[in-house]
Symmetry: C2
Subunit: 631 residues, 2 copies
């Protein structure tokens, strides 16, 4: 009969069933690009939400800011193609930073990435739910619950281990791209009055400015709007992590896919920003900009529902990439000793169960705290992304320098990759350096502008995670030290004292069984009873005398006690025997224990045996034997 766990999560896979499907560029784009492309569902809106503070008149500033962000995307992507070409084995920020800048910077990248993956799930799911509730407003009041259910569903799918081919993933990504492109094209045609189409309806209700800003305050607001739009860059690095998932030649295919992804993302981003500005749309909480735009351009017809449904679908897919990345990074960190080692354990379906569950838990907490409003979560989001870009590209600068120092034909093997001398290392290094500097500046801008809106949480969380890494590492180093076999001599291991103590509250078949067991192992057995009344003493002595063939080889130790917490004198006696009678030797305590037939019945008994075991754990030289007596 299959167990419940097998029904829910599927039959276990053997170790050798690891999946090695390779993706072509079309499918690879769909799998890896869902995160950056789906950012278009909210990036423009994030900019406008800041600008609208100046009234709807200020929204025409959206377009110049969007162009700046598109330029940033181009720079980062260009820089990342270098990473892909030099780390065909996979070059996430953690790996590249570790390989070139050392352990401490790589842990910084690791901490930032862990936070970002959690945010990827929380933000994408929340944005996906908002896409649904823009189309079906009744869902708006239940968005937190819906978001949590979606997280549960994605978690379940990932615990089963998703083994579907890239084709399934391709559907929402391409359907979203096609839908939004159609909206943009129709919108542009109608906006410019081409083909004799009806002009777009003007937006009905302009928002008044809540205050006029001048000078520095004005620039500050522009910076904040720019910072808000930087969420469009999230997820760009996903391809660099997954180079090995592509068909050969892996690096070339991955790099080309990355460029294609950038082109698509920029096109959609600029198109949406252009139309949103010129249609004078105003962000509202219950109806997304993309939803407003689609409805205005094409009416609430098939195209509208197409765009909303596939927006939700691509966003849920983007959340799913968090489920790929977080457990994998967790396992890397665990392998290097910075996270609990069980994060390396694969479950029945060959996935990193504990990482998946941890991610689901953390992202659910974020969804609850932020009430599934992705716009309020965004200030936390781009910060970590920019930090990783900066570290990763600084690492590439270092790598390019090392490449420049090679003689032609010479090979350099680093921990994670293998490079040769190459022409043009100077200009490549310059590109990477520019990328590092620009993203570093953006990082500082983000930190400054979004600090009070929530970025401080990240600023607090990263050092805490670094401390955790350090504590975990120290523990493992320490344990390894103490368990090492080298120079092990027999004297290092404790001698075993020939004594077994049996605590017993009463004398019955269960304790007799323990007595017989102990007598088989040792010539020196003591039954220890705590006596709290004269009647109990007599009953014990009487029963003890009744079965001499069992009790004769042992000694009965009765300890008077006038309180009720009988564990206390028992532990004291055991400690005394351990420390005074047999110092530096292992002594043995055999605990007779009932095992009731069912768990509820367990609650009908004093938990003395369990409590005693817990108390004795603190004693280094006491071995505990559980002698079960099944009822």
């Amino acid at each position: 009969m299959p167990s419940l766990s097998h029904i829910i999560f599927g039959e276990p896979f053997p170790n050798k069933a690891e999946l090695h499907e390779r993706l072509d560029k079309v499918r690879g784009l769909a799998v890896f690009a869902s995160d950056p492309i789906s950012s278009n569902a909210y990036a423009t809106e994030a900019i406008m939400t800041v600008l609208v503070i100046l009234g709807s008149g200020a929204l025409n500033l959206t377009m110049p800011i969007a162009i700046g962000i598109a330029a940033l995307i181009a720079l980062v992507v260009f820089s990342y193609t270098q990473t892909i070409l030099h780390y065909p084995g996979g070059g996430g920020s953690y790996i590249v930073t570790k390989d070139n800048l050392g352990t401490q910077p790589s842990l910084l990248a690791g901490a930032a990435l862990l936070i970002d993956y959690v945010l990827t799930v929380a933000v994408s799911v929340s944005a996906g739910v908002r896409a649904v509730s823009s189309a079906f407003p009744a869902a708006h009041d239940h968005r937190v619950l819906i978001a949590l259910l979606v997280i549960l569903l994605i978690t379940w799918m990932n615990l089963r281990g998703i083994r579907e081919s890239g084709s399934v993933f391709a559907i929402p990504t391409y359907a979203f791209v096609v839908g939004v492109l159609l909206v943009i094209v129709i919108g542009l045609v109608r906006y410019f009055g081409l083909l004799g189409t009806a002009p777009l309806p003007p937006h009905p209700d302009p928002v008044p400015a809540t205050g006029a800003l001048e000078g520095f305050a004005y620039i500050w607001l522009l910076l904040r709007a720019f910072a808000a739009g930087c969420t469009a860059l999230t997820g760009i690095e996903a391809i660099s992590d997954g180079v090995q998932a592509f068909k050969a030649p892996e690096s070339i295919n991955a790099a080309q896919t990355m460029v294609a992804m950038a082109v698509i993302a920029m096109t959609l981003f600029l198109g949406i920003s252009f139309l949103a500005t010129h249609m004078e749309l105003v962000p509202t909480e219950s109806n997304t900009i993309l939803s407003q735009m689609t409805a205005a351009v094409a009416g609430r017809g098939i195209l509208y529902y197409w765009v909303q449904i596939f927006t939700a679908a691509i966003l849920f897919l983007a959340a799913n990439t968090g489920y790929q990345d977080f457990p994998r990074l967790g396992s890397f960190l665990a392998r290097d000793g910075f996270m609990p080692r069980w994060m390396m354990n694969r479950g029945d379906r060959l996935v990193f169960n504990s990482g998946i569950v941890m991610l689901a838990f953390l992202s659910s907490i974020l969804v609850i705290i932020f009430q599934a409003e992705e716009i309020t979560m965004l200030p936390l989001y781009a910060l970590g992304v920019m930090l990783c870009f900066t570290l990763s590209q600084a690492g590439m600068v270092r790598l390019m320098t090392r490449i420049g120092q090679l003689t032609p034909g010479e090979t350099l093997k680093t921990m994670e990759t293998e490079v040769h001398y190459e022409e043009g290392w100077q200009w490549k290094r310059a590109v990477n350096a520019t990328g590092a500097v620009v993203t570093g500046v953006v990082f500082l801008v983000l930190m400054a502008t979004k600090f009070r809106e929530g970025a401080w949480i990240v600023v607090v969380a990263i050092p805490l995670i670094l401390l955790l890494f350090r504590w975990v590492k120290r523990h493992y180093v320490n344990v390894a030290e103490q368990l090492r076999l080298r120079n092990l001599s027999d004297e290092d291991l404790s001698e075993v004292a020939d004594v077994i103590l049996i605590p017993m509250a009463d004398i019955h078949r269960g304790t007799m069984r323990a007595l017989k067991y102990a007598e088989r192992l040792s010539d020196h057995v003591r039954a220890v009873s705590i006596v709290t009344s004269e009647a109990q003493r007599e009953r014990l002595l009487d029963k003890w005398a009744r079965y001499p063939e069992l009790t004769a080889p042992a000694e009965l130790v009765l300890i008077d006690y006038e309180y009720r917490n009988v564990l206390q004198p028992l532990v004291s006696y055991i400690t005394q025997v351990s420390k005074e009678e047999f110092p530096n030797q292992l002594i043995t305590v055999a605990v007779p224990e009932f095992v009731p037939r069912s768990l509820p019945e367990q609650f009908l008994h004093n938990q003395t045996a369990n409590l005693l075991r817990v108390r004795l754990r603190g004693q280094p030289n006491v071995v505990v034997i559980d002698v079960p007596y099944h009822l």
Copy 2:
């Protein structure tokens, strides 16, 4: 250094420190009467809350109903004095019913009493908080929180073990009685215009009837009002439980105290009901009838705050009686095997800790569910009280019959008491029979009239509690059967096989220590490793070969496994060794286990040792040894 628990709950008392303070009648009244006397704080109001459905005009029916209830009190008290005189050792419903009607009826009484004690706490604390919030309306919004804090405080005091003399308890009881009597006297004087006092102010806003009732519906409403007022009878039986707390002659003193209590309770009840009716007071949620009456009679001066504060105080004291009764009844039931045996365990301060904590938990849940509104809890309350009266007095009828069958001078020893032939057993039996019948009828009336208001909860809960009693009893009988030593022969105890299995994932100092320990106990030691990769196999064989002096006496068993859940094949192997190689013998599994220095560090390790122990508990013939390795 004193432990935290000793600071909070006090130093442990030795067993011999049991308290045997005896109370005189004045203090005895204060200790035992707080519950019935405090019912006056809400009983009249409970009647009026029903009648006001007919409009404030119908409230003049309060007085006749109150007289009926006072008559019922007189009957019950008269009947209970017989119980006290015949059960000087204490004659709560559970004891009297068990002694005369047998186990099943006594369990019915026990279940009803447990429910009532929980309600005593929840209702009294809620009513006390309402007395406070009538005087200080700002407290009204926080009444649930305040009530929970009061329960926490009473729980803490009871866990410390209240050792104050009856004098402390006397203050709130007598202060309440004196305060309310003063209000009644001043009220009567002003109502009848005696001594030239100013007449009472008429009630300003009469409530219109929400509907006119005729015929059966009218009678039904009167019955409901009567049923509501029956809460005045709660707590009457407390004295019969605590006869031994009185000074000698215990029975006589207790009986006289009971009569005094009844006189006081009836006086206050009738006085409050008379004034409330004639002053045309109308019950409201935020201001109790007693508060309205006191304010109208004596203004919001010293007397007003005196009455309100001591109303709260006597109600909290009444709640405290639940803390005396519930744990004690729980321990009786546990002694008889119907509740978990640990309910008999006394804590450091000689009180029944688990009963106290259980009561606090259950009453807090009621307070939360009913939002600390005692009037809505009352329908659940009187039902159990009446059931116990009926059973207890039916038991007394039986006892009187047995007394009548004795010859003069003959003595009858029952389980719980000792009786002789006595004159007039016929009329005493008649009184008890009348009491049983009347309270039985009231019970049916309560059940019928309050069923939909909440009494159904009790009707559902009692059978569930009875099932629980039965299940617990059956378990203990079964365990005792199986543990019995009688006819124990050596063959009954399992033989011990000379084999020790040591599961080990790796070979290091911790596992070597376990190996050495096992070799000391047995000549047949097998180290069992689950192998999931070739590299692991080689590493194990290599390390095994390196320390022949330790490993030579043992055998290394390697089991190939191509999944990741290594517990599975380990448990299978152990089961197979137990069932096939050594059937019907005890085999031993020694589990090497790290013990990290701190609890958080525990989370950095796989819990394999713990999980294995849990899995092996199911195997009747496997003894588990924990060999700790302290880091």
